[in-house]
Symmetry: C2
Subunit: 177 residues, 2 copies
DNA sequence: TCATCTTTATTGAAACTTCAAGAATAGCCT
DNA sequence: AGGCTATTCTTGAAGTTTCAATAAAGATGA
């Protein structure tokens, strides 16, 4: 995926000043592939599990959980988008759908007339209560039951490092679009 | 995400035989969140990088790379789907799009009249050559430049373990759908 | 051989995401 | 106040993915 597109071997010795692209080592390639396989399979697995048991994709479920943990079970759109690391556009569409399902309701923000609050409804909350056990079980079976506590901790640390490098808050930030 | 939907505290002491759902510990929750943040941000980042520089999403790029590494730069649809861990349906649509772009061409399979071969075209190959350096740089900057070799290796190992648990090849296998 | 079951791949529709554009309000500066 | 810029959120269209259904050919077995 990230190695040279086969063959284009070339450069390898030349101590070029202009330094050609630093391809990944064999080990790095293996790691990268493993990562892509893991997240592709995992997302697929959880999406199916939740689609079946809760009638919505993994991300939507995550949005409801976020709301359930927020004070008064409500959150500003932008804030919710930031927490979930998605764009506001995507969130708008998502909330619209969840609203049609009756899990979420929109409310105007008292302090800022531009703002909207996404509010978890009672039905939404009840629904979470019903589907959470199954979801936790799925995550546990796929991840935490298979890694030692040390492995899990290291894995988490690596993920934190990677994530921290990706929201420079500068440049053009996705969730602001 | 995977903890109880806030509040539904309850059970914690009772040595129930029926064992209620085993919620995630604080540490596990942190790990799980970090993972979701990492992959969401990473996929987003790479998708944008490739969309901008190569005119296609990350997965499509991966398909071309797979083809570039295959003998004679061609592969059976099902085989390609398996390697990429995606469904055949998704692959069909993807290849159709890449074909419109001229990066891939379909050929009939000589040994099995049901089969199709996805073949990387010269333009497709040339294009890979052009965009690979930028992509590698992006992956390196986001991942391998930020982790120590040990961390990267451990991360890879964890991913391998997770991935290996998710394709039991049994039950109903996604890429066969 | 015929019937049947399996495998391969595609298709269209519905659901979801991205992208660019736009409406409304807030904030700032003179 | 007035004018300008920035922020918040939504929208529609285009692109992508999922899901269920289907066509075509291989494989199996009486």
């Amino acid at each position: 995926m990230t190695n040279r597109p086969a063959e284009s071997a070339a450069a390898a010795e030349a101590p070029e000043a202009e330094a050609g692209p630093r391809w990944l080592t064999e080990t790095e390639q293996d790691t990268w592939r493993a990562y892509m396989h893991a997240y592709t399979l995992l997302e697929d697995h959880l999406d199916r599990q939740l689609q079946r048991d809760a009638g919505m994709p993994h991300i939507y479920y995550g949005l409801l959980v976020q709301l359930s943990e927020a004070p008064r079970r409500r959150m500003r759109m932008t804030e919710l988008a930031q927490h979930a690391k998605i764009t506001r556009s995507r969130l708008s569409h998502a909330i619209a759908r969840l609203e049609r399902n009756g899990w979420v309701r929109r409310e105007e923000c008292p302090s800022d007339k531009r703002g909207q609050l996404a509010v978890l409804t009672e039905e939404g909350f009840a629904m979470l209560g019903r589907s959470a056990p199954g979801h936790v079980a799925a995550v546990r079976a796929a991840v935490f039951d298979r890694l030692t506590p040390e492995q899990a901790a290291q894995f988490g640390e690596a993920c934190r490092i990677i994530a921290s490098g990706l929201q420079p808050a500068g440049a053009d930030v996705p969730w602001l679009r």
